[in-house]
């Protein structure tokens, strides 16, 4: 099953099994097992031109061994018909700073980037960021 994630400026897709829970964003610092929750707006994490969303946000929760990563988005929907996700061109995949994008789907004839949210969450938990975030720090 494929999830469609909407940020302020972009749309992404991901595989549902990469996400452990989808719900309303919370303010909690730790989960019920005492693991620290690392929370980020997905849009600006991926694209400097995508501002943080506001209002009632959805949280995509990815549980790691010692951390929980919550990625905030405007909207998350389960696609009734799973689109075909095609792999990125090898020359493009080889040049990514971090392997967070692993394919492209066509939705309404528009390319939509497919994310590997489990890899993204693991990298975020380790403190890894794309260059536009590093530059802004």
């Amino acid at each position: 099953m494929i999830l469609l994630i909407e940020t302020v400026a972009r749309r992404y897709v991901c595989r549902q099994h990469d996400v452990d829970h989808i719900g309303v964003a919370t303010q909690a610092d730790h989960d019920e097992r005492g693991r620290r929750i690392i929370r980020h707006h997905l849009g600006p994490l991926l694209d400097p031109a995508d501002p943080p969303a506001s209002g009632r946000l959805h949280a995509l929760t990815i549980t790691l061994r010692r951390r929980v990563v919550e990625l905030l988005a405007l909207r998350v929907d389960l696609l009734a018909e799973a689109p075909v996700i095609r792999p990125l061109a090898p020359f493009l995949a080889a040049r990514l700073q971090l392997p967070w994008a692993n394919g492209v789907a066509l939705l309404d004839d528009q390319p939509v980037v497919a994310l590997d949210l489990r890899r993204l969450a693991a990298d975020v938990a380790l403190g890894l960021r794309l260059a536009h975030i590093e530059d802004a720090l």
Binding site: R10, R86, P90, F91, L92, L96, A101, P111
Partner: protein
Amino acid sequence: MQSSPAQPVSTAEYLLFRVATEHYALASAPVREIMRWRAPTPVPGAPPLLPGVINQRGQILAIIDLRLLLGLAAAAPDRATRLIWVHHGDIDAALLVDAVDDLIPVDAAQLEPPPANLTGPAQRVIHALYRHHDQPVAILDLAALFALVQEAT
């Protein structure tokens, strides 16, 4: 004395285009289509050289900005900006250029070796020179161009 048989003339079509103020050409055989510029979908973490992907009649094409690949300054797209869909081996991509000028036949005998003083990316991807209306045109080697794209910075 016997005269040697005439050598066959090897003529191929080349697509002429501009990147900044410089004139370039590609053999037309790998060129699938020329498209107007449209904003691509960016791929998170891709370098500026690869500004995103587009859908062209069901084929997803990654865009390669030739200005940046050739070490020239970036520029905003305008009405003349074009995307050249090329196919090489199992790779399809769209080359971002400032304008497409013409499609011309070129006799292989008219190709000159590239200048010896080329440096940087130009040295890697320019494999010949051609004079078109007294303008030097750099003939690009598509395989070398893709190899350059794939190398990490």
